[in-house]
Amino acid sequence: MSNPNNVSLNINHALEFIDGNALNIPTLSILTEDGDIHPSATAPAISKHTAIKLYETMRFIRLLDERMQGAQRQGRVSFYMQCLGEEAAVTASAAALDQEDMIMAQYREQAALHYRGFTLDQFMNQMFSNELDLGKGRQMPIHYGSNELNYMTISSPLGTQIPQATGYAYGQKVKHIDAKTGELASIIDNVTICYFGEGAASEGDFHAGLNMAAVHKAPVIFFARNNGYAISTPADEQFKGDGIASRGVGYGIKTIRVDGTDALAVFAATQKAREIASTQGEPVLIESIAYRLGAHSTSDDPSGYRSKDEEANYKTCPIEKFKKWLVKQQWLNEEDDLKAKESIREDILAALKRAEVVQKPALEELVSDVYDTPIPSLVRQYNELKEHIQKHPDAYPVTSGRIK
């Protein structure tokens, strides 16, 4: 029986409250620590090509993170954020998607972007905010984005991408509605994935985004990266109840929780989620559990808020775990892996050196893209600025030599 407000009434005559912890959502786990398939689990169908690409992406990101963390300490870049511990969660989810699916990320998902084909030089150009940066040097390091790769440019305010993902996915769905009959095609060719942290899931935008997606059936995969911390705030000061997954259930959204250090579990869950979103035209929520092994960012020092003992409890390396499986499949051997690492390290250093010396964007880029074309007041301000710089070229060495 249902009442008019879409609530199924299950009449009870005993005074009982449902406990806030009543839900206990299971966590999908497929790989063992030794790289075997759990006896009661089924491995997803994954091609050798995809599995290797997935592994190579994780390995690359680990090396890039290490190098850039170091580069920040040397003062060569102003800021960096690594995804240590979450490589499998991000990469395997991206690997389960279609290249044309939209990715709307939070900021710690460089692996998804690399999986899509974002090049080493593109990463570096953004971090050095030089004139080759697709974002024209306007945002802090790690705020990547690429239209070509269907990866929405990162915005710092947390959670804002969540309702936007709902809207974007709704667009992908509307595209498949027959203009004459008003009916939806049985398969939507592309969906949207939206990544966010368990911290960002406290923002109003999260609630707005999930509720809109549920009610209007948007084909969006919400991917919550529950890594235990939002800067210094531990998850138990962030939310009560059963994780972020229980919220999905609350909104009436199909939900699964996965071990985020397990590339096969994440891959399987995302593949299935994509199928649900694209064939049923509705949202899905995945909560991935993978401890943030590193600092929040290079501006942060986790020793101020968590102990070495605690960190040691979560030492599982998602890359090693997957590698063991690959080796057992005989798809990878240790020796080649070591050699590859060396040459990637060299590539990274060379790209860093290249990007470092590329000049900053030209003065015009200060006023371009505020609007489609600069409005009159902006043109005036630009001309005044140009004149000022021409009078004092030494004070503005980055742009003065190139003013036309």
């Binding site: 945002q139 710092s156 305010p157 406290s202 109003g204 210094s232 501006s299 003065l363 200060l366 301000q381």
Partner: protein
Amino acid sequence: MAKMNMLHAINSALDITMNEHPQACIFGEDVGYFGGVFRATSGLQEKYGKHRVFNTPLTEQGILGFANGLAAFGAPALAEIQFADYIFPAFDQIVNESAKFRYRSGNEFNVGTLTVRTPYGGGIAGGLYHSQSPEAYFAHTPGLKIVVPRNPYQAKGLLRASIKDDNPVIFFEPKRLYRASTGEVPEEDYSIELGKAEVVQEGSDITVLAWGAQMEIIEDAAKQASEQGIHCEVIDLRSILPWDIDTIAKSVTKTGRLVISHEAPITNGFGAEIAASIQQACFLHLESPILRVCGLDTPYPLALEKEYVPDALKVLAAIKQSMDF
């Protein structure tokens, strides 16, 4: 007196408040054990306990809604927004709720015990989302008070006054100065009256006005001007709302000239309000048009920050332009 940086001075003002009022609470993202991302609340949780100094979930809308409720109850609500750039999710709670609580209820209820602290402004290579100066958005809202200190001494005295003030106050802390600015600060309690500008340097030729971290810039420009024989009267506005028209008008009546500088974009920045009001108050005394040296009408950029900001050279150019008019 002790030597303090701005963070210590703010911490000291909060400490005094927590001691003074048993229900005062400090809350915001990461402010608990960690002491906030800039460490302004360091040590306070150890001292006053987890019930009064605590991390909130990551929701600015929630922080301000909660703060409004707590303040309506009558407890000093000392809310922190981690960066002023992230105050916008709380815009509705501040502009429609904090600001209008007293008016709409005929003072049946008010949130006078609310103080919102937030790091603001540029100069830290933070780009778009870690550099904004949103004071003008709030200055358009009757019912709020808005305060910006320029050094540790001001920070402690103005923060104490903001907390004791019986109106909701937004206290913008120039984050570039947090550690960079140090000075003598009394350990004991003191307050600096809100709504009063300070004449930092007397001069006869031209009035130069700013607030917050921009004070350093105009002081530098004034120094360079004096080497060229121009005597600037340098004023720190300190309170954006209410703002001290009398002190500014008196100064401009004397000097006949005014240059206003702020980091936020020029169009509809708070400088526009000052220029219009001073033009009306001092029309017959003005020797030249009031000039504004501000950010461009663009988001705050990263790579071309030096070009974007109203630096001392641009302020100096405006001073000379005004003198040569």
